[in-house]
Symmetry: C2
Subunit: 343 residues, 2 copies
Amino acid sequence: MKRSLAAMLCAGLIASIGTSADAQVLKEFGSFHVGGRQASLSGYPIAEYVFTQGAPPTRVDPNGDFEVEQMYVQYLIPEPQASKYPLLMWHGGGLTGVTWDTKPDGKPGFMQYFFKAGHPIYVSDAVERGRASWARTPEIFTTPPLFRTKKEAWEQFRIGPNNSYDVDPAKRVATQGGKFPTQAFDQFAKQFVPRWVSNDAVTVKAYDALLQRVGPSVLMVHSQAGNFGFRATLNAPDKVKGLVAIEPAGAPAPGPELDKLKSIPILIIWGDNIGSEAVWVRQQPFSLKFADDLKARGGDVEVIELPKIGITGNDHMVMMDTNSDEVAAVIQDWMKRKGLMQD
Amino acid sequence: MKRSLAAMLCAGLIASIGTSADAQVLKEFGSFHVGGRQASLSGYPIAEYVFTQGAPPTRVDPNGDFEVEQMYVQYLIPEPQASKYPLLMWHGGGLTGVTWDTKPDGKPGFMQYFFKAGHPIYVSDAVERGRASWARTPEIFTTPPLFRTKKEAWEQFRIGPNNSYDVDPAKRVATQGGKFPTQAFDQFAKQFVPRWVSNDAVTVKAYDALLQRVGPSVLMVHSQAGNFGFRATLNAPDKVKGLVAIEPAGAPAPGPELDKLKSIPILIIWGDNIGSEAVWVRQQPFSLKFADDLKARGGDVEVIELPKIGITGNDHMVMMDTNSDEVAAVIQDWMKRKGLMQD
């Protein structure tokens, strides 16, 4: 009690002085791994490797026990907390939690925005990615790892039209009016991590474990994590107090299962120029049909196509665009309207 | 100026109330990737994969351009800053920056300790690991990824004697008097990431880039990063204002090159039971000989074998042991003595 008062006074004091817009009281930070299982390998040959310059070769026996299919979560808890629930931020395919952090152009991203808005932030790396680690392929992860090329990202993320990517940054032609900071595109490409197509079920399992651990939360999911977020919400509707899906790659099929989601406020956000890229022409209807069906069932779901409210030029990586604060403010406003912030 | 005063008042206020030992003013947080290069692949066959449940197969062309060999860095800047320099924390082999964060038993680790002590903290994932990502093998990373087994970690990290590991946690026999929280060992194993033996040179190159970007810093390095830390310091002695090497797996050979390090305070820390594990019997002498030679050249290097100052039971993962705060205090005291803290 006393502590919260002090923190509030401090937050107010810092804010009122006004020269350190980003300084804030941090109640706690830390990280953990959650989910996963033990797997064992046997019967593989022993090999020898030199691990450390100057050391003799070490015999490496690949057989043994491993932890696999866990996920990684890092949290930052502000004081005072302005939201009612923690905000869990789930990245898209071939990416990690870095999606939400400082943008490739070095400016503050969604993680900074929502932390500053008083949300306890839980940013995760899903199974197979980043600090979640990955397991031996094909023995445990059964398909090959896939590496996203810069060209694929440039086109599929609608940063530039098809065939406008060039290995030379100076020769790349971005979408006209596009908001991606294209000078930072190669910096963005440093965030790419390999992906597997065979890990969806174990990824959802780890997300389920995360929700059970953190408890009632608001989810913010992007792209591939659209599927994971909707599925995890169906698996534990009591744990999800709000769901923000940014350009979700998919959504559950219409049907009576969606009745489980009727009491959960859901916001679906789409950027600009969807029609320019076949992937999104094909994938966007899943979430639109989902929204229509859920609304017809009495659910509380809102779809915001950003150009329709006058916010133009956003590509797939909305949270990295130069106008990310403007989009974040739309989301924050929705959270307020849905009663997800403290009074 | 005004901002710092407010922050100091707040830090003092929070501390004086005493019920929120961990609350602190966070000036800024964020992350970036640094180093690396572009690599291109060509001539590999196109394959088809289903990426998202419900979507038709997508053609995946593995050929194209990639960013590779970058590293990932996350920073937390406290206000006020009590140290003179940022603290760069470099993890060991087969691990990530999670090494320094919350311990596997859920208690605060070195990252929390040194942040609270007023150091700007830069925790990184080295090339090939965690959020740094990794590149296609063997086309770009030329050797196979190696996965550490639980048994290997249990033994090589001196958590238990050789052949005391069992797949059943209840049957594992830990080192007598050992300080590792053995009930959290499987949780620790979730932090393991694959490693390659062919990436040392590019890893140092990325660390060099990190030092150039952050500027004058204090390094805290562990295990495999001993080699990287000493090498990066030799490459940019003007950028390293202090170096703490915790159980360094190696060190530069004695010789005139070490003259470059004479003006840099260096602390080398070793835990307990070194003699119980062949790896450390073999590797410890590298840093001891390094220290002797550098001292003979007039360098400022201190070796602390923890049992000799009455701190017993520490294994290789000193920062995860139940007495990690006690070891951190030894390091913090050394920093004060070496003039690395503000007056």
